[in-house]
Symmetry: C2
Subunit: 342 residues, 2 copies
DNA sequence: AGTATAAATACAATCGGTTGCATTATATAT
DNA sequence: ATATATAATGCAACCGATTGTATTTATACT
């Protein structure tokens, strides 16, 4: 009857009449250990039911094989997809993920960074909270040389990689599409412009208007939290406008859908009276009637790429080129909500 | 200029001319340390920028303050809510969460258990994968005395707590509601019946039929993966049936919505021709037209309660009463998809 | 003052891998 | 056979907090 105690490398060493150091090196395939010895070590370890003690290892090697992920909220299909992608890559590289939500609060975001810092994560991936303006809570990471990567809602810091889409282009394409469908007066529902994702989309929106010879009208842009209420607020505003918009480009599907629903309730026809384009390609966009045109946002891919980038960086000695950014494709999906019979 | 090295309790001890043991005890508010000394220790620790080294601590104390969570998929609003609830409670109790997905595969589930086991999590919370039948991968946890808690898709193991809703009752209520709206022939879209959640709902469905004097008809039950395809498959089947159902009770909103959409495309009217009740109260249920009646599933609450239960258990010495189960309320939300003008 | 008792602190072993350096075994060259 | 290079292994310190036990200090009681 074996006792309940854990098997250590010392037990293996004793069993094989070799030193613990050799066992340690053998287990991690160190080049200076004889192949036959390695084999014996591996076999004995297996037999004895050995499992490495992460803490002892971490304590000594000062690495945790853990990556922290801070996201605003775990409530969108997009975020789920991103996390799935990250998890896949991290798992394969035997890294663990610690996920926490900022709940769109800069304060909680700072707290999360602190917690992860204390837990000695090897690196951190962040999508910024809605109201983060002060970014000093990231400084201690950079100071300690803990790699920091931003995705989606990024922050252009000199020492950080960003993984994102070309938001300006996406905003341009969405708006252009509406214009091509004959819209002359396009409303834009967006988020906090301190988040560059939204600022960029707005910029694309403006460019498209310009290219089609239309004046930019500030009254057509509504800054919101991009939740359901944002959509109904927008609808209310739209209904009250003297020259009513004939198109809406929303910076996420949630607000687009809720706005569409509200307008429908007010008796407007989609897309005849108002055409819609959303953002994210959430499942919801294929449920609403008419189906919502939207920008396909490659979440899974983004997660994979972000995690891969960070892990590559962690696994290489030379800590260079962590500074470049990665831009993913994000194309328009045209559905009934924006297609007018021309 | 301070060096980049971390501050340890030895540094604090040296600074204050006391022993490291006293510092260690002082920092965790041990009763046998003088209050004044504690104060000095705390202050010095703060000044010197001390942060505790989790690994050294874990190595010695054999606890990690980490809880593993294994879920089938991170793609539903419900799961997001559960995780949010868990995260909240865990954070407050200064536990970390390691989340991973089984992707509905029993094999990956077993792998995840193994990984978390190796990472020495203090406890594990699991919602079972779709096709898990063999549950031997949980045995090593129980053998090592690592507490295991199931939520939502539970498994009735003698030594485990389960947190769930009364699925039988929910199934009964959903079906009863349809019957009260005049349905005589109710179709049921469900998941793998080895998952008790679905078996229980089916059982409730049967009871309701019986109470209303209707015969149970096996042809009216379709076992699916509860994804979008499940809905369209069900719709196809329904359209092909000789005596067409006039009501559908689906075990999640995703399949309900996709089935509803398909039937609508086939020219059926909801709820006049076919009334619908879903399950989960996903946001999607309030987007589809007509809005989907559904069972409100208190995800956030479930997450909180599950985490609280596990943490309480971890924090108490006497490892008793980890065996009782917790049943949450889940009530029907009646919306247009099932309300017939009577 | 002298002893019993309690409170506060210190000592030192321990947790289990990791790693620089020393040492021994083996292979190759002369 | 001897010298030299190389491969393989061992030694022992180390990472930093924890904790049982011993020791010192403060307090209480005759």
């Amino acid at each position: 009857m074996k006792s309940n105690k854990e098997v250590t490398i010392y037990d293996i060493a004793a069993e094989l009449n070799i030193s613990a150091a050799t066992v340690s090196r053998g287990l991690k395939d160190h080049p200076s250990i004889n192949k036959k010895t390695k084999k014996r070590i591996r076999e004995t370890a297996l037999e004895m039911g050995y499992r490495s003690n992460t803490f002892a290892s971490n304590l000594r090697s000062k690495r945790t094989n853990t990556i922290g992920v801070i996201i605003p909220r775990l409530n969108s299909n997009f975020m789920s997809a991103v996390l799935s992608g990250m998890e896949k890559v991290a798992n394969e590289a035997s890294y663990n993920l610690i996920i926490s939500q900022s709940l769109e609060s800069a304060q909680k975001e700072a707290l999360n960074v602190q917690t992860m810092f204390n837990n000695r994560v090897d690196g951190i991936m962040v999508s910024l909270a809605y109201d983060t303006t002060d970014t000093s809570h990231f400084e201690l990471l950079l100071k300690k040389g803990i790699p920091l990567l931003f995705f989606d809602r990024v922050l252009e810091l000199p020492q950080c990689t960003c993984v994102m889409i070309d938001n300006r282009k996406a905003g341009y394409e969405a708006t252009k599409h509406l214009l091509e469908q004959g819209c002359k007066n396009i409303f834009h529902i967006t988020g906090q412009l301190t988040r560059t994702v939204y600022a960029e989309r707005l910029s694309g929106y403006k460019s498209a208007l310009q290219d089609f010879g239309l004046e930019y009208n500030e009254a057509n842009v509504l800054i919101t939290r991009l939740d359901e209420k944002a959509g109904t607020d927008a609808a209310e505003k739209i209904m009250a406008m003297s020259s009513r918009p004939d198109g809406v480009f929303a910076s996420n599907d949630t607000s687009a859908v809720s706005c569409m629903s509200a307008l429908k309730r007010s008796g407007l026809r989609i897309p005849e009276d108002v055409a819609f384009v959303g953002f994210n390609n959430d499942p919801i966009s294929r449920v609403i009637e008419p189906n919502l045109s939207t920008i396909n946002y490659p979440g899974f891919e983004m997660g994979q790429i972000a995690a891969q980038k960070l892990i590559n960086h962690l696994n290489t000695e030379n800590h260079i080129n962590m500074t470049d950014s990665i831009i993913l494709k994000a194309e328009l999906i045209s559905r009934a909500s924006s297609r007018r019979t021309l």
